[in-house]
């Protein structure tokens, strides 16, 4: 087993930045009661201006009112990015005054820290990781652990997989540290001190041994007790006889050390992905034009794409809900001709749909929901070509037809060993016919319900041929069949019951 632990040191901030039109503009997350808000986290642009976690909000905002010359040096031009929309939590007195020496377009945008939002992001990242592993756990706060040994055959050796994970996380905009270790507990503590470390079974004990006790995932009072006894590194504990360790420091320390070394199994609650997708995007101020929906739509579709990759699925239909300011929501249902999951394709298709939509009012929030995912098979012509691709495309088509029309609509053509024509065409009517061909002439079409027809017939061309069968199942048939000419020259297959008048149309020779 090989477990990856991903630690996201700035999850809350980066999650909030993803929702902003310009993530480069100075931005900070605030926390605490409304009167005494403090900075909890700040992005690079805000930090270059001196904003630090722990500062009072008023102080941080004041930094942006100071003349630029006194601010710490930063990349030129970076501050000149105009800010799209004023923050909702901004205090009015913080508005910068216009004048010489002041950067009037620059202000600190803030939003309140929400633990629910962080939790949502953790789940989304778990959904992403689910694309790599079926064993994903959110057991540790701020971190994600998942097992990948079973995926090496699919994703290639570790350096390739590592590069791929990092690339995808960078694209998502999440800074991270990662470590791969033989068990999840070890991976979690090693990521406290390392980034990019790969430990195997042989190197595990020495890697753990070099960790300081404060970073080893022990409870605070346990660390205090151990330090008072003169221990500083985990390795010093590993060197002690276990009985002495258990006696002096108790079972919970023993258990933790056992978990780190992989001797105690760790029961992790595994992440289970949900099968429906729903994401919202709230606008700071009402949106009046369809064109302004493009940016949030792109973000939402990217998230949908991630979700679908995690599910190994695609969507065939989804719904956009536009929440309007003063009336009931407007819905835009989007149905696709074939199952898709590529965000760019989805965006193109959705935009095409939206072009025909007229907004019924100012939009306050946009929600993207997919009730149901569908099986998705990527079309890779270069990999699958010829018969394999053909067979796959056929399966896909088959599923789509059955999904919409019902399983009974698509029928195979099966020949049964049965003399009664009407019974021979029914699915699962009986044993299949052998190799012997029916030598007598049979019509290509059978009419579902035989109808009286002698008025339409000009003459009988051949026959009779007696078909007598089915006495054993109570539906016995005794008929004389003829090849007949219809009044317009077509050839029909008709029957009459021996000794009775009336001809019945039963089929057409095509």
């Amino acid at each position: 087993m090989r477990w990856i632990c991903l630690l996201f040191p700035r999850l809350a901030l980066e999650g909030a930045l993803r929702r902003r039109a310009d993530p480069e503009a100075p931005f900070a997350l605030t926390d605490g009661p409304p009167q005494r808000q403090i900075i909890r986290a700040a992005n690079a642009a805000a930090r270059t201006r001196g904003v630090r976690p722990g500062q009072a909000l008023g102080f941080a905002e004041a930094l942006f009112m100071a003349p630029l010359s006194k601010a710490p040096e930063a990349a030129p031009g970076r501050f000149r990015v105009p800010v799209a929309a004023p923050g909702r939590f901004k205090a009015p007195e913080a508005a910068p005054e216009k004048g010489a020496g002041f950067e009037s377009s620059q202000r600190l945008e803030t939003a309140a820290y929400e633990s629910a939002l962080v939790e949502r992001w953790r789940h989304r990242l778990a959904a992403w990781a689910y694309g790599y592993s079926a064993q994903v756990s959110l057991h540790y706060p701020h971190a994600l652990v998942f097992e990948v040994a079973s995926g090496f055959s699919l994703f290639g050796p570790w350096p390739n997989l590592e590069a791929r994970l990092r690339r995808e996380l960078d694209e998502l905009g999440f800074s991270h540290r990662l470590v791969i270790a033989p068990n999840p507990a070890a991976a979690r503590v090693l990521v406290n001190a390392h980034d990019g470390m790969a430990v195997d079974d042989a190197g595990l004990e020495s890697a753990l041994g070099a960790l300081r006790l404060e970073r080893a995932g022990l409870a605070r009072e346990e660390v205090e007790t151990l330090k008072r006894s003169g221990f500083r590194y985990l390795g010093e504990l590993f060197a002690l006889p276990r009985s002495a360790l258990a006696r002096r420091f108790g079972a919970s320390v023993m258990r933790h050390l056992g978990e780190l070394r992989g001797e105690w199994p760790l029961a992790l609650d595994l992440y289970r992905p949900s099968t429906r997708f729903s994401r919202r995007f709230e606008f700071d101020r009402p949106v009046h034009a369809v064109a302004s929906l493009a940016f949030p739509l792109k973000r939402l579709l990217q998230e949908l794409g991630l979700f679908l990759i995690g599910q190994d699925a695609g969507v065939e239909r989804f719904r956009l809900t536009l929440e309007l300011e003063d009336r009931s929501p407007q819905y835009v249902d989007i149905g696709l001709l074939r199952v898709q999951r590529d965000p760019d394709t989805l965006l193109t298709l959705t935009r095409a749909h939206l072009e025909r939509v007229r907004l019924e009012g100012p939009v306050m929030a946009l929600e993207l929901g997919a009730e149901q995912v569908s099986d998705y098979t990527p079309l890779r012509r270069e990999l699958l070509d010829g018969p394999a691709r053909q067979a796959q495309a056929w399966t896909e088509l088959h599923q789509r037809l059955v999904a919409r029309l019902g399983a009974s609509a698509l029928k195979p053509l099966i020949e049964h060993r049965e003399h009664r024509p009407e019974a021979a065409v029914l699915a699962a009517a009986g044993p299949r016919a052998g190799e012997t061909l029916e030598r007598r002439r049979r019509p290509g079409w059978l009419v579902a319900e035989p109808q009286r027809c002698e008025a339409e017939i000009t003459r009988l061309l051949a026959g009779p041929e007696r078909i007598e069968s089915g006495w054993w199942d109570g539906d016995d048939v005794r008929r004389d069949y003829y090849l007949a000419e219809w009044h317009d020259g077509r050839h029909a297959w008709v029957w009459r019951q021996p000794g009775q008048p009336g001809l019945y149309l039963h089929g057409w020779f095509g």
Partner: protein
């Protein structure tokens, strides 16, 4: 000759048979020598819709198509029949040389039949799609023609003779007459022969 060229350039005169020399791989032989010899390229146009106008079920459409379908299904390629006018009788289809395991028929009507035909054509995995769509109008036919081209699928659409006067955007239009004769009403990339072509079978 130069005068002819200038006439062509000024679009007063144009070549009817400019693209008549279609490569052979863009057509599928019909299996009827008489028909192959008059169709442009020598067979059914691939990646296009061929329209069959007839008086009703049993006007020779099966005799016309069976040789082609037999060859396609023998090559293990699926063939789909959409809303056929009656139940296909397996014994007869097998007797005509078709591999039944590759034959499927869709028992649907109305708009669903149009939808299903378009899906089958676009999917690009059916060797041939044969649809009976009396409800299809010129717009629907154009959609199907585009679908057949995008899915590179051979398509046949059967409609009643009543649609004869309507313009149709398809590549090939045939009318089935009694005693197994076909009249070519329109064929893209060639002259439609005046004479009817006997292909045998039918009434």
């Amino acid at each position: 000759m130069n005068e002819l060229e200038s006439l062509i350039d000024s679009r007063q005169v144009w070549r009817v048979q400019s693209d008549v020399d279609e490569p052979r791989d863009r057509v599928e032989a019909t299996g009827h020598a008489a028909l192959d010899s008059v169709l442009p390229g020598g067979g059914w146009p691939r990646s296009a819709v061929s329209e069959l106008l007839s008086n009703g079920t049993g006007s020779g459409e099966l005799a016309l198509l069976w040789p082609l379908l037999a060859r396609l299904t023998a090559a293990a390629e699926p063939v789909v029949l959409i809303s056929p006018p009656a139940m296909p009788y397996p014994a007869a289809w097998r007797g005509a040389g078709l591999t039944l395991s590759q034959c499927h028929w869709l028992d649907v009507t109305g708009r669903e039949a149009l939808w299903a035909t378009e899906q089958c054509l676009r999917a690009g995995c059916c060797a041939a799609v044969v649809a009976w769509l009396p409800q299809a109008d010129a717009r629907a036919m154009r959609r199907l023609q585009v679908a057949a081209a995008s899915g590179e699928t051979l398509a046949f659409v059967s409609r009643p003779v009543g649609r004869l006067e309507e313009a149709s955007p398809v590549s090939l239009r045939l009318r089935l007459h009694r005693h197994g004769e076909a009249e070519i009403l329109k064929c893209r990339g060639g002259w439609a022969p005046v004479k009817r072509i006997a292909f045998g079978g039918g009434g």
